[in-house]
């Protein structure tokens, strides 16, 4: 039996087991759900189990955080959000665990991460994605983050996306 044991990154100490059927479900759904009535039954027929079992397994995966959510991902541009900026900040490492959650909690920030620096080319260690209808509005949001960080802001920049070159989502187990 081909089974993968995964240590949780958050260190909660609980191992998660994905068996062959879970992997088949992941494989069958990672590029999207079938756009037809009773989609879980359709996946079930492909795998050779019942629709109930597919739903139960997906529910388990959702409860374990393996599935973050089942949802639609919009194209920001098509929805009128044309000021999509990746804001990047150089903040003291010893304060990042305190400051990251404050920035992440702002209602215009969609993702917020601590990432490594590459000195001297890349001094920034805190990343926060902001979304606004245009760049001018996005820059106002950058100012709000700067105000929040105060003197912990040792330099920042904003990188606007100008073109989506690829957006397929992940493809694992291919």
């Amino acid at each position: 039996m081909n089974s993968v044991t995964v240590q949780q990154a958050s260190g909660q100490g609980q191992d998660m087991n994905l068996d062959e059927l879970d992997r088949k479900i992941i494989h069958a759904t990672q590029s999207g759900l079938p756009l037809a009535s009773r989609p879980y039954d359709m996946i079930a027929r492909r795998i050779g189990i019942t629709g109930d079992e597919v739903r139960q397994r997906m529910l388990n995966m959702q409860q374990q955080g393996i599935i973050r959510r089942i949802a639609a991902v919009p194209n920001h541009y098509a929805l009128g959000y044309k000021g999509n900026g990746m804001t990047v900040w150089n903040v003291p490492d010893e304060r990042i665990s305190e400051l990251g959650p404050l920035v992440g909690a702002l209602d215009f920030v969609s993702h917020c991460y601590h990432r490594p620096r590459y000195l001297p080319d890349w001094p920034y260690n805190l990343f926060a994605m902001v979304h606004a209808h245009d760049r001018e509005q996005a820059l106002l949001l950058v100012d709000k983050i700067a105000d929040l960080l105060g003197e912990a802001d040792r330099g920042h920049d904003v990188l606007f996306s100008c073109r989506i070159l690829k957006k397929t989502g992940m493809r694992l187990f291919t």
Binding site: V4, V6, A9, L18, I26, T29, Q30, S31, G32, L33, L35, S37, R38, P39, Y40, D41, G51, M58, M61, Q62, G65, I66, I67, R68, R69, I70, A71, A72, V73, P74, N75, L79, G100, P101, G104, V109, S110, H111, C112, Y113, H114, R115, Y118, W122, H131, F160, S161, C162, R163, I164, L165, K166, K167, T168, G169, M170, R171, L172, F173, T174
Partner: protein
Amino acid sequence: MDEIDRSIVNTLQVGFPLTENPYADVAAQLGIDESELLNRLTRLLDEKILTRFGPMYDAQKIGGAFSLVAVQVPEKSFDKVTEVVNSYPEVAHNYQRDHDFNMWYVLATETPVQIDEVNRDIEKRTGLKVLNMPKLEEYFIGLQLQV
């Protein structure tokens, strides 16, 4: 996009049920019938107003890894490098950004070691240095944009 499209986009960004007949359930909630929801959802995906619809898996929890990677690509070779980078199935997203680091791609791989393998391969094929920036900590993810 009309009112119904907007309500579909807003509702489906939040989540989708694990029920026997989920499209019918969501359609009822929106006051339309199942076939209309399916037709509109298909069109929203075809028109790329939605880029995907389905379960979002956390790659790290299924034994894989995610990383954000930055590259400084000379303008004249931008299209060529895009073609090379996009050719990897492990490249989930790729964005052009206005900056010296003008290409930012996201890798999602089955094992952590493949992140380095793909990056080394891309460096070899493009002759460019890539900066691997995996998340060290995540503070928030999942804002929904209302339309």
